[in-house]
């Protein structure tokens, strides 16, 4: 019905309604533009912990404070529960377990959080303080624990997923510290058939406190040109042996290389002597063998004719 058929008051109201409608359209269009490039996967739940590890120097009978940050980087609000647990490793592959201490007392009991449970909205972060109270009679040396932040989701479903991220705590209690480490072995197999070109270093710790080892591996060709430079930084726990692998993934299927390096630990640098590695895959080996056979056969044939 044309607007002219309405009373002036009705016209004013009608105009206001029409303007409001256009405003909603504009807002909706703007929202569509804003969110067009954003993907909100329904149910995305993310928890972030920072730092992921920390080293603390402590004194027996004293308290030390520190903090960590928990971040909800997902789209869903959830509860967070803080906890601590002992941390140990097993085997040369350093498989981690959180059930009992590496040795000695359970240092996870020394940890108290400023808050044990809280809620995080999507996009929110929370700084959580904690204190480490070292008993008077604590043994000097290394003690190891993990601090967990665990989601308490409100989700339902057949399989409800809880997630936890951990900060590994490497603690050194002052006192008689026995810092003792060694390069137990250094190996690179001479003949390797396919990429990666692999070498291994085994580092041992015979002391009562952890140390950090920085290993550098350099791979050169027979003309001395550097082809790869591999780095590793590992913490070696007391009374353990850790195997560290260095893989040059881009190694060609055919080539002769020299692999050497060094390990820096406990105020010293130990050189890893150069080793020769022949990259020769099966196909190349067969081709070389055939060529060699032909050359030898031809040589014998020529010699007999002469």
């Amino acid at each position: 019905m044309p607007i002219a058929y309405y009373t002036p008051l009705q016209q004013t109201k009608l105009v206001r309604i029409i303007r409001a409608f256009h405003s909603i359209k504009i807002i909706t269009a703007a929202a569509a533009l804003i969110f067009a490039g954003t993907t909100f996967a329904q149910g995305d739940e993310t928890i972030i912990m920072s730092p992921a590890s920390e080293q603390l120097n402590l004194k027996a009978g004293e308290q030390t404070s520190s903090k960590l940050t928990v971040i909800n980087d997902g789209e869903t609000e959830y509860g967070v529960k803080m906890s601590s647990a002992p941390f140990r490793v097993q085997g040369e592959e350093y498989e981690k377990f959180f059930d009992r201490p590496q040795y000695g007392e359970d240092s996870s009991r020394w940890v108290k959080f400023s808050i044990n449970e809280f809620s995080l909205k999507a996009g929110e972060r929370r700084e959580v303080g904690y204190t480490v109270s070292v008993p008077t009679g604590a043994a000097p040396g290394g003690h190891y624990a993990v601090l967990f932040a665990e989601t308490q989701p409100a989700e339902t479903g057949t399989v409800v997923r809880k997630k936890r991220v951990g900060e590994l705590l490497y603690m050194t209690v002052d006192g008689v510290l026995n810092k003792s480490g060694r390069v137990d072995s250094w190996q690179a197999d001479f003949w390797q058939t396919s990429a990666p070109l692999t070498s291994q270093v085994r580092l041992g710790n015979d002391g009562n406190v952890h140390y950090t080892a920085k290993t550098e591996i350099a791979i050169t060709d027979i003309f001395g040109r550097r082809k790869a430079h591999l780095l590793d930084e590992s913490i070696i726990l007391p009374k353990t042996l850790k195997q560290i692998y260095f893989d040059w993934k881009e190694a060609p299927g055919l080539g002769l290389f020299r692999v050497s390096g060094s390990v820096e630990y406990l105020d010293r640098t130990e050189v890893l002597p150069a080793k020769t590695v022949l990259m020769l895959n099966a196909t190349s080996f067969v081709v070389f063998a055939l060529i060699l056979t032909l050359i030898i056969s031809f040589s014998i044939y020529i010699a007999r004719r002469q």
Binding site: G43, E95, V146, T156, T158, V159, K162, G166, D232, Y245
Partner: protein
């Protein structure tokens, strides 16, 4: 005379300026050191809800669904991801009724029997390469699954040795039920743990 005075003053001024220039120039520099400290972080993300909706038949029907677990860390030593139940009860529970977890282990997984549930990751341990796909109400399913490890017996899903950016592990969950199971929502909680190496 005044012109001579002006010239003398200008000469004296420029002489002073030349003498003072090195002093001024020498006092004009300073060094600032800029440090950027990048903290270490680790994050874990899951998406969607895992609902294993089953319409049971007398011979048993099986439903399979995936869970995408994504890890990010800037730790150069990589990370370790494990899976376990949140407690000692590894059954799917609906009040007094339960669906037991498979008795198989990852090294020797097996196809699910009626009224059991389990998990798998393609290419891990004895699960085989797959590929596994989601399905609903399958009467026959030969894909192998393992039982959920109880709390305290976490199974390692992945260990890496470098930084991780959106590194995905797909965990498949499956349950098989027949008509002897009362209807209702059977559920259990599992725990993913991510730590740096």
């Amino acid at each position: 005379m005044s012109k001579i005075k002006v010239l003398r003053m200008a000469l004296a001024g420029s002489t002073v300026a030349v003498m003072a220039a090195p002093i001024v120039a020498g006092a004009a520099t300073a060094n600032t050191t800029v440090n950027a400290v990048i903290g270490s972080t680790i994050s874990i993300t899951t998406s969607n809800t895992v609902n294993l909706n089953i319409t049971p038949v007398s011979g048993g029907n099986q439903t399979t669904q995936s869970d995408t677990v994504t890890i990010n860390t800037n730790n150069s030593g990589g990370y370790t991801l494990t899976l376990q139940d949140v407690d000692a009860n590894t059954n799917l529970v609906n009040g007094g009724n339960t669906i037991a977890t498979s008795s198989s282990v990852p090294a020797t997984p097996a196809a699910l029997s009626n009224n059991t549930w389990g998990w798998r990751v393609d290419g891990l341990s004895g699960f085989g390469a797959g590929p596994t796909s989601g399905s609903t109400d399958q009467g026959t399913n030969t894909t192998t699954f393992a039982g959920m490890p109880a709390n305290g017996s976490a199974f390692t899903l992945k260990t890496t040795a470098t930084t991780a950016t959106n590194d995905v592990t797909t965990v498949w969950y499956s349950a098989k039920a027949d008509t002897t199971k009362p209807n209702g929502t059977y559920a259990d909680s599992v725990l993913y743990t991510a730590t740096t190496n």
